[in-house]
Subunit: 199 residues, 2 copies
């Protein structure tokens, strides 16, 4: 549609494009077990968590709006690249190339200034070098653990994941939010005790 | 799970509770038409729009983090109350009572300070009296219009909605974001021309 407002048209094109994230499915199941969760729902859940759990961030006075933006857009590249299960690292190298190409294509639908801002937020999230990115990454790991716990093992059971693997792959939660890692460790122990997770 | 951290436990209980928003379906279909959209996906989409379209808010210097929080939680009461199609106003009175009860139950799962903050944000959104709430409400109306346009009529066609009804029910977008209303009006005219929407 031609409206004479090119900037707004690009923004709307991006908003239309990212609707496809609602059709990118993850390994994690909804907490009621009825189906797999998609990336849009997952990103919404993380954004609410960013708002409610910021008091647990490792560093004080982090920028919550920046964390929220990061988690809202962190998976958008999966529109082209698809989701990778966190315990599957066989294709890590190819994948990062694919994700960069996806970022090039998708963020550049936006006007230049916003394309740059979103790309930088995505790179920041991936690099995990700022307090905001470490906190965002902690939420991104805690959320599927909650789903797997609530579904009595869910994707852990389906893929034969053990408690050692859960600890190893998620322990960087401690760098972004020590109290959340403490909670997560207790949850892992409890999950083993209850038989949701193999030792 | 008893962890000795009562505050964090309540926050996690709330985060687990709101997973149910992923199973509350709206009339709007995904832009690819394949199924209806749920409230969690819708809220994610609005949050991204809040970040990207804030330059069009009617008033300058609005608090984007507050807008983002509002759109992230604005539909949480629908976990108990269900979704109401925006063109269906027959039960408006009962509904607002039901939604208040839902807000009482759900937000109070949180620690008191956060329950109060979330409840106030929800009331602010509903009342539409602040610049932030008017902008949030504008996004909440624009997004399903984009979905209906992209699905060549979608829920408009299904429910026999006419262009007059679309204009009447959505014109308050102009109060929150005049440029977005200008865009929306053009989209309605274009939808009529293309036969997506009856005059």
């Amino acid at each position: 549609m031609n409206t004479g407002n090119e900037r707004l048209e690009s923004q709307i094109r991006f908003i239309v494009e990212i609707d496809r994230l609602k059709s990118v499915f993850r390994q994690t199941r909804l907490m009621n077990g009825e189906r797999r969760e998609n990336d849009a729902e997952h990103s919404w859940h993380l954004a609410v968590m960013a708002v409610l759990l910021s008091e647990y961030a490792a560093e004080k006075d982090i920028d919550i709006l920046r964390v929220t933006k990061m988690v809202l857009i962190h998976d958008i590249v999966e529109i082209d690249a698809g989701d990778t299960f966190v315990y599957d690292r066989t294709e890590a190298q190819n994948r990062s190339e694919e994700e960069r190409r996806a970022a090039d294509r998708i963020f550049n639908i936006l006007p230049h200034d916003q394309a740059k801002e979103m790309r930088e937020l995505w790179e920041e999230f991936e690099a995990r070098e700022t307090p905001e990115a470490r906190f965002a990454a902690a939420l991104d790991r805690l959320q599927p653990m909650l789903h797997n716990y609530e579904t009595r093992g869910g994707a852990w059971q389906e893929h034969g994941i053990t408690s050692d693997m859960v600890i190893r792959r998620n322990k960087h939660i401690a760098e972004g939010a020590p109290a959340l890692w403490e909670y997560a460790e207790k949850m892992v122990r409890d999950a083993v005790e209850k038989g949701y997770l193999n030792r």
